[in-house]
């Protein structure tokens, strides 16, 4: 057991899988010699060889297409898209090809590709280094979508993704790479070493895809969230002094509806929090599902706290970011309803 930040945990997950399974190959822009712009693949090329940890041309479409071909030929490709903002050039290959291959060939062909990509804001990245496009992928049948919120889950989930028979988009909330973040940019940074989920086993273990985690048990209101916002929600719940149950969704596809809806049916109140823009974001699906399953238990409207429906603005990062103030307000309004 070691203390790791999320970058190290991801690096360790890749390292473990490269070591255990000759079929695993890791590639992407600046991933090889340099070790990735966020250092997630640091040292892996030196250790596992340049034929298994590769640099690629700057061509996200080509990267995913090549990954599909490799997957069809028996490898387990782990492709990095340098920023989630740059995943769109690969969108056709992901949606039309990767996600549908098993279906259209009735299972004769499939490509167990993992696409890793850093997402989210809070790093002064402006509109092209801050996006949270996970919602779009959750509407695509045939691809799994996960987002860890801590080093332990990051490594365990990543290993699950690489071992999974289906393609997965693995979103890495980059604001969490170095430490949990409670939504207040003015506080000194907190390292993962102070957080229980910063304890990460050195070797192989898995965190299952398709399972949400109750991060904080509570009885008055359920907060559904994932990624960076898990920590912001925790801070907000403290501020609101509500007995909230916070659930880290972790796996958007498949969704652990049971855990989510059991909680909301119990608390009767629900706040959904994500960083992505609100309109047609993943929160809409969460809200619709919860409403369908828990309607008769709901004591207040389900509230969504999200990024505003604008591109991510560089200068107004902290007015844009759905921080504790907004979450507290939502919790209070939901609690006060009726």
């Amino acid at each position: 057991m070691a203390r790791m930040n999320m970058v190290q945990a991801i690096n360790s997950g890749l390292d473990v899988m490269l070591g255990r399974d000759q079929r695993v190959v890791v590639f992407g822009e600046d991933v090889g010699y340099f070790g990735g712009v966020f250092r997630c693949t640091d040292g892996l090329q030196r250790k596992h060889g340049e034929h298994r940890v590769l640099d690629t041309p700057i061509s996200e479409g080509g990267i995913v297409a090549a990954a599909i071909g490799m997957g069809v030929n028996g490898l387990r490709p782990v492709a990095e898209i340098q920023f989630a903002d740059y995943i769109y050039p690969a969108f056709d290959q992901i949606v039309s090809e990767l996600a549908r291959l098993r279906y259209r060939t009735a299972g004769e062909f499939s490509a167990p590709v993992t696409i890793r990509t850093p997402c989210g804001g809070g790093i002064r990245g402006g509109q092209t280094h801050s996006q949270s496009p996970e919602g779009v992928f959750t509407h695509v049948c045939g691809i799994k979508v996960v987002m860890p919120s801590n080093p332990y889950d990051a490594k365990g989930l990543l290993i699950s993704c690489i071992e999974d028979e289906d393609p997965v988009v693995f979103f890495e909330p980059k604001r969490l790479y170095n430490g949990p973040f409670d939504g207040d940019p003015h506080k000194p940074a907190v390292p993962w070493s102070t957080h229980p989920k910063g304890e990460v086993p050195d070797g192989h273990y898995t965190v299952p895809i398709g399972k949400a985690e109750i991060v904080r048990a509570g009885s008055e209101v359920t907060v559904l969230t994932y990624g960076t916002m898990v920590h912001v929600a925790e801070a907000a719940v403290k501020l609101a002094q509500a007995d909230a149950e916070i659930i880290d969704v972790r796996s958007m596809v498949p969704l652990d509806t049971d855990t989510l809806c059991t909680s909301v049916c119990k608390t009767g109140r629900c706040v959904i929090v994500h960083e992505a823009t609100r309109f047609s974001g993943f929160g809409a699906e969460l809200s619709a599902t919860v409403q369908e399953e828990c309607f008769w238990h709901l004591e207040a409207p389900i509230a969504r706290v999200t990024g505003w429906d604008t591109p991510y603005p560089h200068a107004f990062e902290w007015d844009y970011f759905p921080g504790p103030q907004r979450i507290v307000a939502a919790i209070q309004s939901v609690m006060e309803a009726r």
């Binding site: 080509g62 069809v72 490709p77 090809e97 279906y103 009735a106 045939g142 289906d166 969704l255």
Partner: protein, 429 residues
Amino acid sequence: MRQSRLHVPHPPARPGEKPDFSYVRISPAGAVARPDTRVPAVEIEALGTEMVRVLDEQGHAVGPWNPHLEPQDLQVALRHMLLTRLFDDRMQRMQRQGRISFYMKSTGEEAVAVAQAMALQPGDMLFPSYRTQGLFIVRGKSLVDLMCQCLSNTHDMCRGRQMPIMYHSAASNIFSISGNLATQFPQAVGWAMAAAIKGEDHIAAAWIGEGSSAEADFHHAMTFAAVYQAPVILNVVNNQWAISSFQGFAGGERRTFAQRGPGYGIPGVRVDGNDFLAVYAVTQWAAERARASGGPTLIELVTYRAAAHSTSDDPSRYRPKEEWQAWPLGDPIQRLKEHLIRLGEWSEDRHKGLEKELDAHVTACWKEAVTYGTLTEGPSLDPLTMFEDVFHEMPPNLRHQREELRRLMQERAGAAGAASGALEVAGEG
């Protein structure tokens, strides 16, 4: 507004005009040198403008690219091409009769798929386009299987999920056709990269139309193939048309498609796509090169789409009806047949006999295929299977949706009768 200065490409002839193929540069048979397969790309750029041809006007095989195949092999080739054509004709008729929903013929282009599949090894992976049905025929996929796919019946390899002609065959090492143009081009490169990473000798080959070469995936494929020197053959089938758009709209007005290769450092070879021997030889050359770690080759196969784009298309709206007759590279089947006759290894009678035999075979296959059902009649797949294979394991939401459909189907069938049948299926997925 002032006069537009935009250049808008024009095909040589539209309906009512005289076909004109003077833009197709044709080398005499035997005229193009055959370089060693180890020669660097930069030294063989002429291969992208010339046209490799083996069969001359008299049906002789001439020049350095003559692959010197045995007559038996040529007879097999003729059989494959003819079968492809008869299969296409039959399926088109069946579409017209409303038995299948859609079809696309490869008429006039049969040499491409048949010669290339024959020149490759069984372990080489093929990434087909929708107009390379000949690949499946050469690799021995039964016509019944292909027909069942087109019928979306109980034996459909795609289990009813794809439109007709979107075949695949893992057992034959032929990848799946998706319907999205060009996507398989860079996937083939990835497959080849994996073969190289694993130190295996197999190579990949992929096909797209000249029109599709304008898609991003063409560039992805070329770049990755060049950078990693992937063992792959990238084929652009230039059949002059992309639905209603002639090849100039893909950039063919000023350069050949083979000439795209050298810009990436990839050899580009232009070949008479209706010359079985030339296509075979060029493919063999590229395969040898790739297998010996010589990297990728781009092949442009110059041919003509003799039929409509698909059963939904009416080409008389956009090109002269008699263009096919004016096509200077002739008919690949006719040309190979004449060559075999010239060799004394074939005759008009044998040809007629073969036609009859294959036509009977197609009939027999069709008869068998329809016993497994059609889209509208006979046994049919259980709709509940539609929820399978979205994922390796069915997630809860799909299980629930399957149950909902089951209930709806029962309701429709009248609760009593349907219940037992549906319960049987329940064990499946």
